[in-house]
Amino acid sequence: MNTFKNFITLSVPMMLMLFVTSCVDKDFDEPPIDGTDPEITVTHTIDQIKNYYVLGTAKALPDSAVISGIVISDDLQGNIYKDMIISDSTGGILIRVDISPLSPLYGKGRRVFIKCAGLYISDYSGMIQIGIKDGNAVGRIPSVLAPDYIVRGMWNQPFPVRVISSINALNPNDRTNQNISVRFNNAHFTESCNTWADVATQQSGNRIMIDSSGATVTVRTSGFSTFAASFIPADTGTVEGILQVFNGTFQLILRDLDDLKDFSTPPCVSAQPVHSIQELQSIYNGTAINIANGSEIEGIVISDKNASNITSKNLVIQQGNYGVVVRFLTNNTFNLGDKIKIDISGQELIKFHGLLEVNNVDISLATLTGTGIVTPRIATLADINANGQTWESTLVTIAGVTISGGAAGTYDVGTALTDATGTLPIFTTTYATFAGNTFPVTPVTITGYIGDYDALQLNIRNTSDVQ
């Protein structure tokens, strides 16, 4: 049986070799990056393809038509969604594609070719666009069908940028003026330290840009864009973007914040979290500022919404020797003497006609923690006039003052205080419950909190403030 023995002695090492050498191939070469343009003949310019557009219908494009353009859109920051905007020397057009984001493959500066066979042209609020037929409109080209219509070419292609000195010089109804890349030099915005859109509700924001001629352009930003919560700069610079139209008006779309050039970032957020009203006063530097995360204030309510000499959206709280106005988004239910704690993280700190105010606070951020009493500061009118900026929104008591003015001897509008040291207006709204009451003509001791409406004033809460 030597044969068998030989078979064994041969086959075992052979199997061993098989064992070791048979490899499971799982290493892959990296494919070459396609950096060349395909050999496709372009038959129409972008402006020529717009000739097929008919208002109110989705019009089929000719089977033989091919257009080409450079992508000028960039959706990586989420301000453009499933829109690919391409332009050539004759203008730009929007291609609707159901891919998000488009930029990794169809990024800004890439040449693309659109094979129009099977595609349709229509408009949305005056903006001409290409896509698949969806009734009388065009829908997004589905992701699996995209390779049949869109052919990718070379990257890093230059594209025309129109420099616009006055938007008024452009006709929004001229189709060559839409979906083009534009630049405004020496432009500025009207709402510095506002955000580009409302992130909380994810609503789009329309902000006003003033171009170098003083004409206004709407800058529209999606609430989903990553820079929606960024602050609008305060100074002047260069603004780029994509010019679109919506029902006959121009809209400027920023691709990302790199479209803003030569602007400085405004200091819109406090450097440190704030834990007292005193700190609140110190972080205000003359322009609206957002309060840093982790901030919280606590104080005692010194205003009285029940007497209605203050809107129910507002209240005044005092902590120690400092006070501030808090303006809520909705009416509040806190009473005079309530001790409350408010999470003011990310809230806006503004001066409203000279009075410091935490603005637009959601009511849910305030919680009742107890009650308390604030002892008013005893002062003369001269003291108040001298220290009003630091004393604002705190309680004061002035003895021996005379009230004068008003409508027929009532508190309603236009009363003032006089003592030996000076004078100070009293603020009373027509809606105050005591507005129609007559005030004492003899000297009184009066208590109230210091307000400011472009000038210092005393706000009384109700008639028991006048003794």
């Binding site: 799982k26 494919p31 990794p104 829908g139 589905p142 699996v144 990553t226």
Partner: protein, 924 residues
């Protein structure tokens, strides 16, 4: 060649087996098993013609000490079995008498001589997380257990519908459990030759090595002394998860000086498995050394490791299968360089070392102690992307079914749908991964970030890593006081630390990736730092090999005590077991996550649980053939780490009201054992209460990963198991097995949903109207009819006809909430949302055949015999390719349109006809 072998053996022997001085008396040891390889405990063993007499221990081992040198005959007498005897020569201090197999009265040839038949084993399971622990129970060779684990595995049958945590596995006495998820750890794939010695206890039967789970327990004995003295080479060819398998195994048997050595090496591989785009490359090694120090002590050291690299497959929706024209459509691969590249590659290597000490305290008692250490990484690869489209070709928005949700005009919808269908049918690769586009996306975005300029990756391949460090100590004491009473008791301590983190594996042509949580970037409440995965390393520039994403550690301790007295009488056997378990666990976050900056870093609150468990059972022996038995368990167990943390990748938050899981179960039945007929009927009912489960999934409505923590899950598992096996003619056996159960949820569960991109919970304690929905997956009814013929000249052939019914798609809790159906009037749409889909019943047929040849002796030394064994098995020979063996509802629900079809269930299919051929060359 012969000389090389000899030298190898010599070297091994010299290194590992220094001879020990001769003595005048010998110790004779051996093992008694039945023809299913189960040890026979308490069997009376005698040296014929002498006064020497002993009983086997519960593992079937007997020992005669201080036997004068000479020739003897070992005789075994055990009721129900034919008497057997075997010659043994005492001519050295330790004599291994080997194994004696007891045959039921009336049967002649040991089953083992039939030589191995085809086992379905690990090749069948393509999903590494799939394969149930219960498959181990097949080792018992009990007709029912064997069917439940091998024959039914094609349908992903779970024994009694139980999850894996209800079965306990041991390797050489060391508990093999992953404490994170309660699952058994199988670290011996490819080492089939050395892990054949297994003992198991099905259901709640008493075992002497463990208190056991309610589903059963099982111990693999891979100690060197238990390996046959042989050298074996096996080559197998299959068309399953792997195509080739080569195994080399050597066993020295017990050598002079009490040493035993065994070793095994195997490789399993496939360029492409049964499912397209899958590949397999597995290496396994094993080395066992055992030294019998004296008659009372022996020590064994076992070391083995399995390295597996394989490309995964995943389930898909039927629409995609139909478009591609293949129910085995696997979306995880795509062509690169003209070859299929899989995007989801597993790479697992967790070697295990077990040191076991066996101490024969006296003739009646033993103490078995095992120390184990297992470490290593389980890497699960996958694509990740930043600010780029989902790379899955079968992403739902790419399929024709999405068109009605994208377009408003009905006529246009039809037109575009059929255009998409035609396009995909003409080019099915559209539903695969387009690697070229991924590389293209990665190679054109030059950016400067954090001081680094280069191409920033849109797509990467990442490895999600579990780096385990498991230490185990387990000691078991057995005492057979007398013929009637015995005691088993044990103490164990387990510690497991697992580091969970991600490593960037392949930049796909880009230069770097930035570690950001893109979902938090777009979240509605902006925070300056929310997008940082690690606030302490912001905007981290990641390149290949770098850690990123998340990083946390689980630390689990489990201390366990148990004791189990047992009584064996003439008419009644009974046992009672008690177990106390103390478990503590915690999570330690190593990254400070931007969304959860306050609760992500550092150690979580430590969770601590004390859980008692009581077990008992009795068998009434009506006579030698008829038995009635009943067993029961009641108690609690601690919740699992994986079910305790709501979102472990990002924070330390614990599921609210994390409670002990309450378990109660009874089983009872009747069995009949006669030489030509064995039958058993078992009824069981089990309640498992207060379970929690965490689902993680991506929800693009909220643009984030979502964690769905479901608590208050109660389940009921009730059913019957029937098995009968008869010898109908010489060599011809037939068997019939049926399992019919009803596994349902019995409570209204509570769900809390949180997101990885915003710290406020989406919903808290939402009620799930889950009562009476079917729990688990796999058939709740399974049947097989088998025939098996053993010929006279060492051949055999078998056939099984299998039928599976009562299969249900895995339940998505969110579809059974008020939010999912509110405003839907009674009617079809509401019913579709609420109903749980029942899958079609299925039939398969499996055949197998085996033939072995005794060959002329090849090498006279050291082996006397050479065998060649050929096994062939064909499963699902009728090529049923419509067999859905895994279905699950997608977790996403479209609350706007309330249409299920937008997120249709995903199915996986059982393999069509598949074969396995094995050629074994064995020298012993």
């Amino acid at each position: 060649m012969k000389k090389i072998y000899y030298k190898l053996f010599l070297v091994l022997t010299v290194l590992l087996a220094p001879a020990i001085a001769h003595a005048q008396n010998a110790t004779i040891r051996g093992i008694i098993t039945d023809d299913y390889n189960n040890p026979v405990g308490n069997a009376k063993v005698m040296l014929a013609g002498t006064a020497y007499e002993t009983l086997t221990d519960p593992t079937g081992v007997y020992t005669f000490s201080e036997i004068p040198y000479g020739d003897y005959r070992v005789e075994v007498k055990e009721s129900d079995y034919a008497a057997v005897s075997q010659k043994v020569t005492a001519n050295q201090p330790t004599v291994d008498a080997g194994k004696i197999t007891l045959l039921p009265e009336g049967r002649k040839t040991p089953l083992e001589e039939q030589l191995p038949t085809v086992s379905l084993e690990e090749g069948e399971n393509t999903d590494p997380s799939g394969g149930g622990v219960s498959s181990a129970l097949g080792a018992s060779r009990d007709v029912f257990a064997s069917a439940a684990t091998f024959t039914f595995s094609v349908a992903r049958y779970d024994v009694r519908g139980y999850g894996d945590e209800n079965f306990i596995t041991y390797m050489n006495g060391a508990p093999m459990i992953n404490l994170n998820n309660g699952r058994s750890v199988y670290a011996w794939g490819g080492l089939n030759d050395v892990t054949r010695n297994q003992i198991s206890a099905y259901g709640m039967k008493a075992s002497n090595y463990s208190f056991g789970g309610i589903g059963g327990s099982f111990n693999v004995d891979s100690k060197a002394s238990r390996q046959r003295k042989q050298t074996q080479v096996t080559y197998s060819n299959a068309n399953r998860a792997y195509e080739n398998r080569l195994m080399l195994t050597y066993g020295s048997g017990i050598m002079k000086g009490g040493w035993s050595v065994s070793a095994s090496l195997s490789r399993r591989w496939a360029q492409e498995g049964y499912i397209p785009g899958t590949f397999y490359d597995g290496w396994s090694y094993y080395l066992g050394v055992e030294k019998e120090i004296n008659t009372r002590h022996s020590i064994s050291l076992t070391q083995f490791g399995v390295s597996t690299i394989n490309g995964r497959s995943t389930s898909a929706i039927q629409e995609a299968n139909d478009l591609v024209g293949d129910n085995y459509f696997n979306p995880l691969w795509g062509y690169q360089d003209g070859e299929k590249r899989n995007s989801a590659v597993n790479n697992i290597f967790t070697p295990l070392t077990v040191l076991e000490h066996d101490w024969q305290i006296n003739n009646k008692s033993t103490l078995t102690t095992a120390l184990s250490y297992q470490f290593g990484k389980e890497k699960r690869g996958g694509l990740n992307w930043y600010n780029a489209p989902n790379p899955r070709g079968d992403y739902y928005r790419r399929l024709p079914s999405f068109v009605p949700f994208a377009l408003t005009d009905t006529a246009s919808q039809f037109a575009v749908q059929s255009q998409e269908e035609e396009t995909i049918r003409n080019n099915p690769d559209l539903l695969q991964i387009n690697w070229n586009e991924l590389y293209e996306s990665n190679s054109n975005h030059l950016e400067t970030n954090n001081g680094v300029t280069g191409y920033r990756a849109s797509y990467i391949l990442e490895n999600r890593i579990e780096d385990n460090h498991n230490f185990g100590f387990n000691t078991v004491y057995n005492n057979s006081f007398n013929e009637n009473y015995s005691l088993s008791a044990g103490i164990s301590y387990l510690n497991q630390k697992t580091d969970y983190y991600k490593v960037l594996d392949d930049l796909l042509g880009a230069d770097y990736y930035i570690d950001l949580n893109q979902f938090a970037e777009q979240s509605p409440v902006p925070g300056v730092d929310a997008a940082q995965n690690n606030l302490d390393n912001p905007d981290n520039i990641v390149t290949e090999g770098d850690e990123f994403g998340y990083n946390y550690t689980s630390d689990i301790n489990q201390f366990q005590l148990w004791a189990q007295p047992e009584y064996k009488g003439k008419k009644v056997d009974a046992f009672l077991g008690v177990q106390a378990t103390m478990t503590t666990f915690s999570r330690t976050g190593n990254y400070r996550n931007g969304v959860y900056s306050d609760i992500s870093f550092g150690k979580s609150e430590e969770q601590s649980f004390s859980n008692p468990m009581l077990k008992g059972g009795a068998t009434y022996k009506i006579n030698g053939r008829n038995y009635i038995f009943a067993n029961g368990t009641i108690g609690t167990r601690s919740p699992l780490f994986d079910d305790a943390f709501v979102a472990p990748t990002v924070n330390n938050q614990i599921v609210s009201e994390l409670e002990d899981v309450e378990v109660s179960s009874v089983e009872g039945g009747y069995s009949y054992k006669a030489p030509r007929l064995r039958a058993q009927a078992t009824f069981y009912t089990t309640a498992i209460k207060n379970m929690t489960h965490i689902y993680h999934y991506y929800n693009d409505d909220v643009n984030s990963f979502v964690n769905l923590a479901v608590s208050g899950i109660n389940e009921s598992h009730t059913g019957m198991e029937l098995a009968a096996e008869a010898t109908v003619y010489k060599g011809l056996n037939v068997s019939a097995v049926a399992s019919v159960g009803n596994y349902i949820y019995t409570s209204r569960q509570k769900a809390t949903t949180t997101r990885d991109n915003i710290s406020t919970a989406e919903s808290v304690n939402e009620t799930i109207y889950s009562e009476n929905f079917k729990a688990g997956q796999g058939p709740q009814a399974a049947y097989t009819l088998g025939g098996y013929y053993r010929g006279k000249k060492f051949w055999s052939a078998g056939i099984n006809i299998n039928y599976f019914d009562q299969m249900y798609v895995r339940f998505n809790p969110i579809r059974r909430t008020v939010a999912a159906v509110e405003v839907l009037p009674d009617g079809e749409q509401r019913d579709i949302m609420l109903d749980q889909q029942q899958l079609d019943a299925q039939m398969t047929v499996d055949i197998n055949a085996s033939k072995s040849f005794k060959l002329p002796t090849t090498f006279k030394k050291p082996y006397r015999n050479t065998y060649l064994v050929i096994n062939v098995g064909i499963n699902n020979i009728l090529n049923n390719q419509d067999f859905i063996n895994g279905g699950s509802e997608q977790l996403r629900v479209d609350f706007d349109t309330k249409q299920v079809k937008k997120f249709a269930p995903k199915y996986s299919y059982a393999f069509g006809a598949n074969y396995f051929i094995s050629v074994i060359l064995r020298m012993n």
